[in-house]
Each structure stands twice: as structure tokens, then as C-alpha cells.
């Protein structure tokens, strides 16, 4: 079943037409990878799915985005609740200048949970599922900014997992990481997709083939090709796709 899908989505920043008629279905409990050259609109598309672009004053759009058949841009949709259901991990780890514990607890607290024992359990669970518990369990009250980049990125994943979203959007989560941290996060994604629906932007072709179930290739704000990952990489239908994945441009 499709967890989230866009229909004839057009996005503009002011006069600039960024996305052109994007139709994409992202099935439940699967990983969808978005690939394409820099500036083609992958991040813009991703940020449309949790209405993060609403923060940009010049943003406007046409077309629809459905989460479980609810149109998320409907007037009566509660954006705060939407962002709780559709979590996001950013390209650059952006942990808060708070303790490791409070970074993860924050999401729970803002959603009205104040039972400290429950928060403790949830934080531990989230840190475990982001494969970082062993590294931080003895220093939960220390500042998160003292962690390495890879650890902070996993902390940010834990923070997102803690609020139990249904969809997790990841914008190049490994772009600043070494190969070992990258592999850890890839393992993590495969683990997480049992419970969540994941959409990931990546510039790393190997990563797309390793983790994703389906892949969409963006070029100049349009989807050129979309299909099961293996098929798209082994047997691309479009010439542009072929050129991009074989590294001839982009």
C-alpha cells in the first residue's frame, strides 16, 4: 500500500518553478531513494512531504500530497501533528545544544508527555534503535555537541524515532560521515523500515542500491524514471538515467 504519494505536484519559490508535475508513490515499510544531480529539486520535494517548505515565505505549490489518503495541504490539517507523523533527518546533524538525553526527550516533552519514567524508557529505546546507546549510555547528561559527527547524526535519528513517526524523511543523512558510520546508518535503515516508511535522498549510487527498494531519478525538477531499484540500476529505460548512474554527468 502507498503510505505517501504526490500527484501532479508543482512547486515554486516565488517565480522560480522548481518541481514540475511530480508523481511519486512511496509504499509503506519500504525505502524509496531519490537520486539526481545537485539542484534538481530532491530536497525541495522531500521538504514538501512534511510541509517544511511552509517556513519559506516565497513557497507555493499546485497539486496534491497524500498521507494515507489525507491531503496534507488541506486547510484543516494540523501541521504540527503532520510533522509528528512525518519525521525528518537533515543533511547536517543538527543536535540541540542540550544534553544527549534532552535531545531525545525534547520531542516527547513537546508532545505533552511528562511522565519522567516513561520518557526515560522511550529515550533508551530510541537510542538503542539508532544503534548509539552503547556509545552514550554513560554520558547521557553531557552536551550532545561533544559527540562526533556520525554519533550526532545517529542521535538525530534517535530523536526522530522517539516520537514514533510513520514516515521518516532523510536528506543525505550520510553525506558527512565516514564509511563505517555510513554502514551503521544503512543497517539501521533496513532495521527501521520494518516499522517505518523511509524516503532518502542520496548522492551515493552504491548506497541507493544497497538500501532502497525503489528509486526515483530527478532531473531539473522532473522525475525522469522511477521503479524498483534493481531494475532502474541494471536496466534503465531512459537514456538520461543510464548516463547519470554510469557517472557520465551530474
Amino acid at each position: 500500500m502507498d503510505k505517501i504519494r504526490s500527484e501532479n505536484l508543482n512547486v515554486y519559490f516565488g517565480d522560480a518553478h522548481i518541481l514540475h508535475d511530480v508523481n511519486l508513490k512511496m509504499p509503506e515499510n519500504s525505502i524509496t531513494a531519490l537520486i539526481g544531480p545537485s539542484g534538481c529539486g530532491k530536497s525541495t520535494f522531500l521538504r514538501t512531504l512534511n510541509r517544511m517548505n511552509d517556513l519559506i515565505p516565497t513557497f507555493h505549490h499546485e497539486g496534491n500530497v497524500y498521507l494515507d489518503d489525507t491531503e496534507i495541504y488541506d486547510d484543516n490539517v494540523d501541521v504540527v501533528n503532520l510533522r509528528k507523523r512525518v519525521g525528518m533527518v537533515f543533511q547536517k546533524a543538527n543536535s540541540f545544544p542540550k544534553s544527549i538525553f534532552e535531545n531525545v526527550a525534547y520531542g516527547l516533552r513537546i508532545h505533552g508527555i511528562d511522565d519522567e519514567d516513561y520518557i526515560k524508557q522511550k529515550v533508551e529505546l530510541a537510542l538503542k534503535s539508532a544503534a548509539i546507546w552503547d556509545e552514550v549510555k554513560d554520558k547521557l547528561d553531557q552536551s550532545a555537541l561533544g559527540l562526533s559527527g556520525g554519533q550526532q547524526q545517529r542521535l538525530c535519528i534517535a530523536r526522530t524515532v522517539a516520537i514514533e513517526p510513520e514516515v521518516i524523511l532523510m536528506d543525505e543523512p550520510c553525506s558527512a560521515l565516514d564509511p563505517i558510520s555510513t554502514l551503521k546508518i544503512e543497517d539501521l535503515m533496513t532495521e527501521l523500515k520494518k516499522e517505518f516508511t523511509i524516503v532518502i535522498v542520496t548522492h551515493n549510487m552504491q548506497q541507493a542500491t544497497r538500501v532502497s527498494d525503489s528509486t526515483a531519478f530527478f532531473l531539473n525538477g522532473q522525475i525522469i524514471e522511477h521503479g524498483p531499484t534493481e531494475e532502474l540500476f541494471v536496466n534503465p529505460k531512459e537514456e538520461k538515467t543510464e548516463e547519470y548512474i554510469s557517472g557520465r554527468f551530474g
Binding site: L55, R83, K84, P97, K98, L145
Partner: protein, 291 residues
């Protein structure tokens, strides 16, 4: 080779400039201490510090009412100015649309440039009469001085706080909204704490300006050297004490005014130490997060 000579050259120039400014400050301090010393030595430090009566004609120099006066006036001004300026800074940095912000910023900066005699005159003509008719007494009071000082330090606290709110990286905002936080939650729990060190700096600057302001306070405070009985009673501050009498002071009286300066210096140092301590303690409480 040339590069490292250049480096050493620049380093020594910077060092000399820094040492020179420290030296000048030290010189001023030394002068004040030397001139004030007889008041402590001949008159007695504790008699001077804790004495309740200031009567230069009879050689009685008790500075305690002025210490109390300065603290009262400064704290009352902060009490009014801090909440107001923080809300204003948050509004300008986080809520106001761009055109309103572009209008407000120069207005507030202009406010900071108005000379204090103008504020004092405003206080004398507008605030003091209203305090008199509303609360009784002469109108010259802690209350009137606090209001004038609060208005005077608003721009300082607003500008510095707003700058430090604006300096909070956008990625914190995005992270918070991305977790489903509301506008207000994001401001209160993420942006404000992250900007707090800068905001405290703004408050300290405001406090320094309030405790040091002389002219405007003289015009509305009443200047009676007596521990004030209420917030509507007249008051004399340490700085006013110096300014009012320095024109004609000689002998021990002259030394006593410099000694008042020394006391002012000590009071400011103590206030700075306290805020510094609070700031550091708070930082540790939020998990050592800094910007």
C-alpha cells in the same frame, strides 16, 4: 621567513595596543583609589561604607543610603526593562514580518542615541508630575528614576538580545519544527536558551548603563541622601552624589567623593561577579550547551 616576521610584527603591535589600554584603565583606577584613600584611612572604611548620614558641612560622610539608592533604582529599572525588552526582542527576531522589523530596528537604534538630558527632561516634565498626582509626595522618586532608566536601557537590551536570537542557527529551528514543535515551543525551549548567554550580556550592559547614568537620574530622583522609605520616596544614587557636589568639594569632602567612586566600582564588580556565576551555573544546568 617574511611571513613569520610579519606574524610576529602583528602580534607585538596587538600586544602593545592591548597593554596600553589596560595601562590607561589601570592608571584611572589608581588615581581614583589614591584620591579616595584619605576618606577610608582618616575617616574609617566601615564608618564610611555603613554610615547612614551624609553631611559634608559637619564632616560626616556615610555613603550607605547612596549604595541602597543606586541598587534600588537599578533593580527597579531592570525589573521594568528586562521583560519588556525580551518580549520585544523575541517579537522582532522571531515573529515580526520583515517589513515591520526593518522599520523597528532603526527606531530602536535611534532611541539609544538620544542624550540623557533629553530623557531627564522628559522625566521631569511628564513622569514626575504624574507620579505626584497619582501616588502623592513630590513625585521625585525611585519610581520616576526607575521608569526613566528603564526607557533608557530598553534599546541596549533589545538590540543585543535580538542579535543573539538572530545568531541562533536556523538548523535548530528546522530540527524543532521537524519534530512537530509549535512556534512558541521552539522559541521558548530551543531558541531562547541557545541565545541566553548573549541575552545575559545585553542585560549586564543595560545594568551597567543604569547604575552609571547620572544626569537623567539627578533630574528626577530628588537626591535626598536618606535610605528611601518607599518606592515613591526621593533617593540619591552614588553617581548623583559625586556629580552634585564635585563642583565645590575640598579637603576630606573631596576625598569622600572619590571614595564614593571606589564604592561604585566595587558595587559594579560584585554585580558582575554574581551575574557571571549565575550564567555559568545556568549553562551547566542546560547540559553545557554553548553556541
Amino acid at each position: 621567513m617574511t611571513n613569520s616576521t610579519e606574524e610576529t610584527g602583528i602580534k607585538s603591535i596587538l600586544l602593545i595596543t592591548a597593554l596600553f589600554s589596560i595601562f590607561v584603565i589601570f592608571l584611572i583606577m589608581a588615581f581614583i583609589f589614591v584620591e579616595g584613600w584619605p576618606a577610608f584611612a582618616d575617616y574609617g572604611f566601615f564608618k564610611f561604607l555603613l554610615g547612614l548620614k551624609w553631611d559634608p558641612n559637619n564632616n560626616i560622610f556615610g555613603v550607605f543610603p547612596m549604595i541602597v539608592g543606586s541598587l534600588y533604582v537599578t533593580f527597579f529599572a531592570l525589573l521594568l526593562a528586562v521583560p519588556l525588552s525580551l518580549l520585544c526582542a523575541i517579537f522582532m527576531a522571531e515573529v515580526a514580518p520583515n517589513n515591520i522589523r526593518k522599520f523597528l530596528k532603526p527606531v530602536i537604534e535611534t532611541l539609544a542615541g538620544i542624550p540623557s538630558v533629553v530623557y531627564g527632561f522628559f522625566g521631569l516634565m511628564v513622569i514626575v508630575p504624574r507620579v505626584r498626582t497619582t501616588f502623592g509626595g513630590t513625585g521625585f522618586s525611585i519610581f520616576a528614576s526607575g521608569i526613566i532608566l528603564a526607557i533608557m536601557i530598553l534599546p541596549t537590551i533589545i538590540s543585543v538580545s535580538q542579535d543573539s536570537l538572530k545568531a541562533v542557527p536556523n538548523s535548530y529551528r528546522e530540527a524543532s519544527y521537524g519534530l512537530g514543535a509549535t512556534n512558541w515551543q521552539t522559541i521558548r525551549k530551543i531558541i531562547f536558551p541557545a541565545a541566553l548567554p548573549g541575552i545575559v550580556t545585553g542585560i549586564i550592559l543595560g545594568m551597567g548603563r543604569a547604575i552609571g547614568e547620572t544626569l537623567a537620574v539627578i533630574m528626577v530622583a530628588g537626591n535626598v541622601s536618606q535610605i528611601p522609605s518607599s518606592i515613591f520616596a526621593p533617593v540619591r544614587t552614588l553617581t548623583s552624589n559625586i556629580a552634585l557636589e564635585m563642583g565645590y568639594a575640598t579637603g576630606l569632602h573631596y576625598n569622600a567623593l572619590f571614595a564614593t567612586g571606589v564604592i561604585l566600582f566595587i558595587v559594579i564588580m560584585i554585580l558582575l561577579l554574581i551575574t557571571n556565576y549565575v550564567q555559568r551555573k545556568y549553562k551547566m544546568d542546560v547540559g553545557g550547551g554553548t553556541l
